[in-house]
Amino acid sequence: MALFKPFFYKEFLKSFRNYTFYILLILFSFFGFSNPIIAKLMPEIFKLAESDLGGITLVLPEPTALDSWMQFFSNISTQLGLFILMFSSIFTIELSSGSIITMLTKGMPRHLIITSKFAFLVVVWTIMYYLTFFITYFYTPLLLTATLDNQLIMSFFPYFYGILLISISLWGGVITKSSIGSIVFPLLYTMLMSALSFISLPKDFIPAVLSRDSILLLTNEVSLSHFTIPTIATFFIIIFFIGTAIAIFNKQHI
């Protein structure tokens, strides 16, 4: 812990000084506010498009809070993509610049470099994700009506799926020693999950359930137990990716 803390703090200091933290703060706040606003304005936007539809009249129901949360879910992948993109070089920049060599020669164990970076990413993701969530949570009732259940519980599952993709991004950076790997591997994983979603047997058990089906909790179409196996699977997959990232890094020549 004595070595973990200063390295973990260093990551924060960097994100403050290169403005990454503040940029994400602004972007994720924007998404939080935009969810209910876009849901509220959607009928107006469609009405503006009516003139291009050759006289077809669109009859749209009054937007509700559920539309705001649907917007929240549809934006998560974009937010996660931005997050991964902004931190894609968190590991590889240290290798390419050589700054990691100084830390290793000072006696910093290799596993602490991976775990402190992962912990930093998880903490920042938690702050950013829940910033968007709580802005949507408190702002939606001001603009839209409808009573929804389970919002707080529901919020955990896409958040946890985000941590899984962050662990894959870090793993990709370690095994390829390139920030491209940090971007490509989460993308490949998402594509794999999409493909598995079409196969009947695993589709209810894969981690993608966490982001795909969370909205069904709001409308009580599924129960919490629906997420049990995917959550456990996600936990072990995260452990697997971080564990193998450490094992691979331990064997790398620097």
């Binding site: 004595a2 200091l13 610049s97 060599i101 290793l104 000072k106 006696g107 620097i254």
Partner: protein, 300 residues
């Protein structure tokens, strides 16, 4: 007492065997000049000492403890200065040294005092300026401050002066010479004058092994031969002189040559016999450069 002991180590990259059964030791409180041409494998050896590269065969011990690839316990005895040290540029020098000190497990109560002392030693102002704006010389000096912060038993410097101008080189060598009072230094370089200036012992890495190792004075006394520079008015005269094959040719141009393996009386006798007379005949003082060239040319 030996701080560093390298025992019969070998290292290959694919089919290319870079290090072949290398062995040497470094005694405490000495400066060991580790010489070799570019690409000789000096950095590979340094990285094996630091546990950053795997050793194929052989062992390395630092302060009696064996170095293990990928692990860092022996690095607690070592300070490392790279040719172009990399830092966290968003930090101030004090913030960076605080990070280094904490990772080196320095006592918090003495860390700030030690940082002040190190910044003073290397001549870096303790202000709020970020490292990002530092020149190459300042970076090298901060690198030394970082390497010496934890009072290492062994300071490894990998070509620390190669990227610096003459003033920067002098500053670094002065700092290293002062640091040698408290620590043992292994100094990798291909700049021979730097070695002559500060090193006690020299090892010349060539073809993956130590071609030569001794203290500087012994090396120059033992191996360096008397060399002579001769310059003629025509190339024909030079060729005629060299064709006698009485001498070993060290260097040759169109009108001049540096030869060894003879004494001055033999040269006089030869030019008299051939009836050719050089316009210049000069004895060249032996130095480490001659020895290095001879070793790397395979004549020692």
């Amino acid at each position: 007492m030996e701080i560093l002991s390298v025992n019969n180590i070998s290292k290959s990259f694919g089919d290319n065997q870079v290090i072949k059964g290398l062995s040497f030791t470094v005694k405490a409180n000495t400066i060991y000049g580790f010489l070799g041409q570019n690409g000789a494998g000096k950095t590979t050896v340094m990285k094996m000492i630091l546990g950053l590269h795997k050793i194929d065969t052989g062992t390395i011990t630092v302060n009696g403890q064996q170095v293990k690839f990928g692990q860092t316990p022996t690095n607690e005895y070592i300070g490392y200065l790279a040719d172009v040290p990399a830092f966290y540029d968003f930090m101030t020098p004090r913030e960076y040294l605080q990070l280094c000190g904490k990772i080196s497990k320095l006592d918090a109560t003495i860390l700030n005092e030690r940082i002040t002392k190190m910044l003073d030693l290397v001549g870096i102002e303790d202000n709020k300026n970020k490292i990002k704006g530092y020149s190459r010389g300042m970076r090298q000096r901060l690198g030394i401050a970082s390497a010496l912060l934890s009072k290492p038993l062994l300071l490894i410097c990998d070509e620390p002066t190669s990227a610096l101008d003459p003033l920067g080189r002098k500053q670094i060598l002065d700092i290293l010479a002062e640091a040698a009072n408290e620590t043992t230094i292994i100094f990798s370089t291909h700049i021979l004058t730097d070695v002559e200036r500060i090193c006690d012992y020299v090892g010349i890495l060539h073809n993956g092994t130590l071609a030569l190792e001794d203290d500087i004075q012994s090396i120059t006394n033992k191996y360096a031969t008397e060399n002579y520079l001769l310059e003629f008015t025509t190339n024909q005269d030079l060729v005629k002189f060299l064709d006698s094959r009485l001498f070993k040719i060290i260097e040759q141009t169109d009108l001049s040559a540096v030869v060894s393996g003879c004494d001055i009386s033999e040269i006089y006798a030869q030019v008299n016999t051939l009836n050719i007379y050089p316009i210049k005949l000069e004895e060249i003082k032996s130095n480490l450069e001659n020895v290095f060239l001879e070793v790397t040319n395979g004549t020692v």
